[in-house]
């Protein structure tokens, strides 16, 4: 007998967790002497009240879709990839190399090449932890944490010593050439006659991210590999019985996961800053964890959660702009969401299960 109906698991629990996180965040805002209702109004206004706000919200959401999918894919194989941050950094490096050193005739070709490079670099960065887990028994959680730090040092080295243009101060690469600049949502929607803010950074990567959501869904629930991946994630001994190779699943899954995280770079590096800056990723790798948890590891859930977090991000930026609430408020909200949906899941689940059990027995009795 199911302890709880599916909808409660998929909708009710995340919703309650989110409400708890929001309630505590509201207390925090009150605690620092601001008005939470005003804050929410400002956030909604800033993030969703204009096409410019939407442009930023969707820009952030694009990042989070990629990193959220990265975490979700790995989760299905029971792998916890905390390395999205490092993988996305490396993805950025791949994009920068492709955009800086190869003269592209048109953005579309550049985009294909850059996506490939981003995915390749991100995947390569996930490959080593994956290999070490299957062959040497070191847990990916710890190794991917370590690889985040190593990635930062590596990127720092490359930017400072190789890619920084002369005279520049920033640890950042030169601007990418014009031909690699991606069309923004303004340009895309313009072709179908929809007005959209010209300056918002949301760009064509959003469509790629949405395609990635669909692709990941099909991969996980429609392909043989997805079948094996999920089976492996649920039961390793079962996978061994069925002749599913743990080596193959772990390696390929982490490659896909790292590749998705790396792909984020086409949005933030190629689409937005149009150059590689040191802290381009800005924690999106970690937010991917929250997004994936919130979205119950389902691509559609990830899509929704990414937009929610995009909203939080943009709304939070607006708050920081117009009030005394620092941007760190978003970090707090994000932490609370991870805490409630990820670590304290049972706190919400156990009482709910009891309620449903009681309801069921009553119905039966």
């Amino acid at each position: 007998m199911e302890k709880m109906p599916k909808w409660a698991d998929v909708v009710l629990i995340p919703l309650i967790s989110l409400i708890l996180a929001a309630a505590i965040s509201a207390l925090v805002i009150l605690g620092i002497g601001e008005d939470p209702i005003e804050a929410v109004k400002l956030m909604v206004q800033g993030a969703l009240g204009s096409s410019n706000g939407w442009g930023y919200t969707l820009y952030y959401a694009t990042n989070f879709m990629f990193t959220g999918l990265a975490v979700a894919v790995a989760f299905h194989a029971s792998l916890f990839n905390i390395g999205g941050e490092g993988q996305a950094m490396l993805g950025g490096l791949g994009v920068a190399l492709v955009c800086l050193f190869i003269p592209w005739p048109h953005w579309s070709i550049a985009l294909i090449a850059a996506s490939g490079a981003a995915a390749l670099f991100g995947a390569a960065w996930a490959l080593i932890p994956a290999y070490l887990q299957v062959r040497r028994g070191s847990h990916v959680v710890i190794t991917t944490i370590m690889f985040n730090f190593i990635a930062f040092s590596l990127l720092n080295y490359v930017l400072v010593n190789q890619l920084r243009p002369p005279r520049a101060m920033d640890p950042a690469s030169a601007k990418f050439p014009e031909a690699t600049h991606l069309p923004s949502l303004h340009d895309i929607l313009g072709t179908v006659g929809i007005e959209f803010s010209k300056h918002a950074p949301a760009n064509i990567s959003l469509l790629i991210a949405i395609a990635a959501c669909v692709g990941v869904w099909a991969l996980i629930w429609r392909t043989r590999f997805g079948f094996e991946l999920r089976a492996f994630g649920k039961s390793e001994s079962g996978a061994r019985y069925a002749g599913i190779s743990p080596f193959k699943i772990t390696i390929v899954t982490m490659l896909i996961s790292g590749g998705l995280a790396g792909m984020m770079a086409i949005n933030n590096v190629m689409g937005e800053s149009e150059r590689l800056v040191l802290n381009a990723v800005e924690g999106a790798g970690f937010i991917g964890i929250a997004v994936s948890l919130m979205g119950r590891n389902h691509p559609f859930g990830v899509f929704l959660a990414a937009i929610l977090f995009g909203f939080l991000y943009q709304g939070g930026a607006e708050l920081a702009l117009w009030t005394n609430i620092p941007r760190e408020l978003i970090v707090v909200i994000q932490a609370l969401v991870i805490l409630f949906t990820g670590a304290l899941d049972n706190m919400v689940r156990m009482p709910l299960e009891r309620i449903f059990l009681a309801l069921n027995t009553k119905k039966e009795g």
């Binding site: 007998m1 199911e2 302890k3 099909a218 429609r222 392909t223 043989r224 079948f227 094996e228 999920r230 089976a231 649920k234 039961s235 001994s237 079962g238 061994r240 019985y241 069925a242 002749g243 599913i244 190779s245 299960e353 059990l357």
Partner: protein, 513 residues
Amino acid sequence: MTSAPAIELKGISKAFGPVQANKDISISVQPGTIHGIIGENGAGKSTLMSILYGFYKADAGEIYIKGQKAHITDSQAAIAAGIGMVFQHFKLVENFTVLENIVLGAEDGALLRPSLRKARKELRHLADEYELNVDPDTLIENLSVGHQQRVEILKALYRKADILILDEPTGVLTPAEADQLFRILDRLREEGKTIILITHKLREIMDTTDTVSVMRRGQMTATVKTAETDPEQLAELMVGRKVLLQVEKAPAQPAQTILEVENLSVTDDKGVERLKNVSLNIRAGEILGIAGVAGNGQSELMEVLGGMISGQGTVRLNGDALDLTGKHSDGRSRRARGIAHVPEDRQSEGLIMDFHAWENVAFGYHHDAKYQKNALFMDNAALRADTQAKMDKFDVRPPLPWLAAKNFSGGNQQKIVVAREIERNPDLLLIGQPTRGVDIGAIEFIHKQIIELRDQGKAILLVSVELDEIMSLSDRIAVMFDGEIMGERLPQDTNAQELGLLMAGVTASEGAA
């Protein structure tokens, strides 16, 4: 005897979520006796004992120890009341020494050294008194299972237990080790200690206990004096109706050899040789049964043939050698060659418990062409239709392909696995513990399916710890002990006693000598 019972349980109930593991159970056990508890898998025996030991909290009911109402809220209280328990799965810290395991939780003070010194002395004393010798400074992980069990018993005695609960103590022991255990238990009984013994083996009940209780589906169905009952009656009480010990089947008509195994060996990752130069063959249309105490290499044999582990030696299927170590030594390659495999542990191997039934029906065969829509995607609709058909044919209840595997009962789970494997129409079926934890109706059904497959001219390798099952299904019986085949017998030419000796590693010649 008119003294107060050593243990008295009144109206104990316990539910795990939706599962009612114990329902209103009452028993009483006299001091200085051995009390047996039998029952099918999942009947609630372990749960009941864990409640007595304070490991689980009962939802309702009362416990009296020596006539006094006891409030056993945790194991500490049970230990204080003089109860000791040896769990089905030992509760030892593997990388601690014997001594450390024994003092754990029974230290005398905040500092360790005095406790250890005292325990060492006490241990020597106990060893002499009960023939319970173990080196106090060995790490548990370096001890044999039998010795680990001794440590568990020593733990209880060190805590001055005079009520000792043993949960399926012989499942993992060789017959010799088991005999020694029963000698120790006798000794303890003579000392006036009360013993509760849980087992599946009727022989042990008949040989050692004074009284016996039977449990079925969470309830206590009867408590009788051992002297006043017999195995048939107990078996009937256990399963709730007369057991059909004999399976109806026509004589085998073996044809060409399907499987040839020559000098097959398996070494585990700790370097222990689990399977030693095993040779056997199975012909089309016959069932080879492997008898043996759990842990003597049968699992490894199944796993190496099923492609779950690698091995050395030669295995030929229909005359062609199988890859035992390389790229094609996995389960998928085996299936492609026509070997189907019902694993011993359906919950952790045969099924993905969180998958829908329809996904489980493809499990292992998900590469089959008939389940593919195109080069990229699987054809889930075809799969669901296929599942529906199998469920109807094998009478899986409820016949809902959408239900997750974990939501089926054990017997129906097993039917799903068996349906999947048998319907594949394999040349060779490996089937391990086909009826473990399965209710009697399903047992009969599954047995019938196995015989039918044989009669279609397939080769079947059957592994089971249930001797009865082996004897009634097999056309030939091989007995394994310590990774070796001790001998082969025909069911009509042998009996349980002879097989039992072989299972204990005693060959006929030795037996005679």
